[in-house]
Subunit: 189 residues, 2 copies
DNA sequence: GTCTATAATTCGATAGAC
DNA sequence: GTCTATCGAATTATAGAC
């Protein structure tokens, strides 16, 4: 009878349904174009309920856009395969259920201040530290910056703009080709 | 007395002032958040004039977002320096006066259908053909796709999101590091 | 918990005086 | 050419009945 996890209180199910609908709408329309009304309709509930459960559009966005890159400890990995590992990890996170926050952030970051700030935070708190263990500290910001350009571009072209030639790239090709690039950026080799 | 090119009819000067203001506002806010009223204020004229000169917000956007990548003939270049040449060319275009259309498109493409379609067109009509002369036709879409991810990511991180470590990269570093990546992507080597 | 009604803004666009 | 006034639509958010 329920699509959602069983044995939840009704209020929790409603809240989860709103969050799920909000993820879809925010991810496909961006923050500005998404409306409370549309999200409510997609969740099959009344628009007022969205406000009741989340308070405001801003807070709803902040909640569903939350997510972690959850990078593994790169120092513990085979040093020759760091690039490939990084790409494979990013792809997994972005295509996972819990990774829905990334397309949302990315699509809204271009015109929403909160999303843009969150994106900066994300790279400062997770990508930069990861680069610190892979080479000289002085060059870590530069290496992190280069890594960021390549990964953000892949995500933008593939998941947001959906450029046909990028969408058509198969996973192995991406891991191999872009992995080689990240390997060079990350290790400075 | 005039900031704009001398000896224009007043109507042309007004039109140019609106277009210049629109470029700034669209580039910094994106399509949705930019308002006719704000653009008019930035241009120092009445909001009604924007409609009179451009008809609608859509047509104003289409006009100021227009631009060309204007790629040189890559086949005529030193084959070992194609990557560096590409990056240097992109940087020049994006930072030039007439290249203002690109940040505008990029910032709006995530949530504006016209901008997204225009971006697809741009790569299909200009990047893909350029790849055709550099290697086997079969792999041209794949090579163009990879090039697109790296260049879009650089533009996004540097000009739209303004990620500090990417903004701080100096031009020589970008040309060298990202040039090497494009060299590999474009030539398939 | 849920919904109706509506307040309060804001926006793009138009009509018309001067 | 320029501006005042305003329309009509859409939005977030709230008040309050049931």
């Amino acid at each position: 009878m329920n699509d959602k996890p069983l044995k939840m209180k009704k209020s929790d199910r409603t809240r989860a349904a709103i969050a799920a609908a909000a993820q879809r709408i925010f991810a496909s329309q961006g923050y500005e174009r998404a409306t409370i009304r549309e999200i409510a309709a997609a969740a099959g509930i009344d628009p007022t309920m969205v406000m009741r459960y989340f308070g405001s559009k801003d807070r709803l966005f902040a909640e569903v856009a939350e997510f972690d890159l959850d990078l593994p400890d790169l120092a513990a990995l085979d040093r020759d395969r760091i690039g490939e590992t990084l790409v494979a990890h990013f792809l997994s996170v972005w295509e996972s259920e819990s990774g829905g926050g990334f397309p949302i952030l990315l699509r809204s970051a271009a015109s929403n201040d909160y999303a843009a700030a969150r994106m900066q935070q994300l790279f400062a708190a997770q990508v930069l530290p990861a680069m610190l263990v892979l080479g000289p500290p002085d060059s870590a910001p530069q290496r992190a910056g280069l890594v960021a350009t390549q990964m953000l571009g892949l995500a933008l072209a593939r998941y947001v703009l959906r450029l046909p030639p990028v969408v058509m790239l198969d996973r192995d090709t991406i891991v191999r080709e872009i992995g080689a690039t990240l390997q060079r950026y990350a290790t400075g080799a």
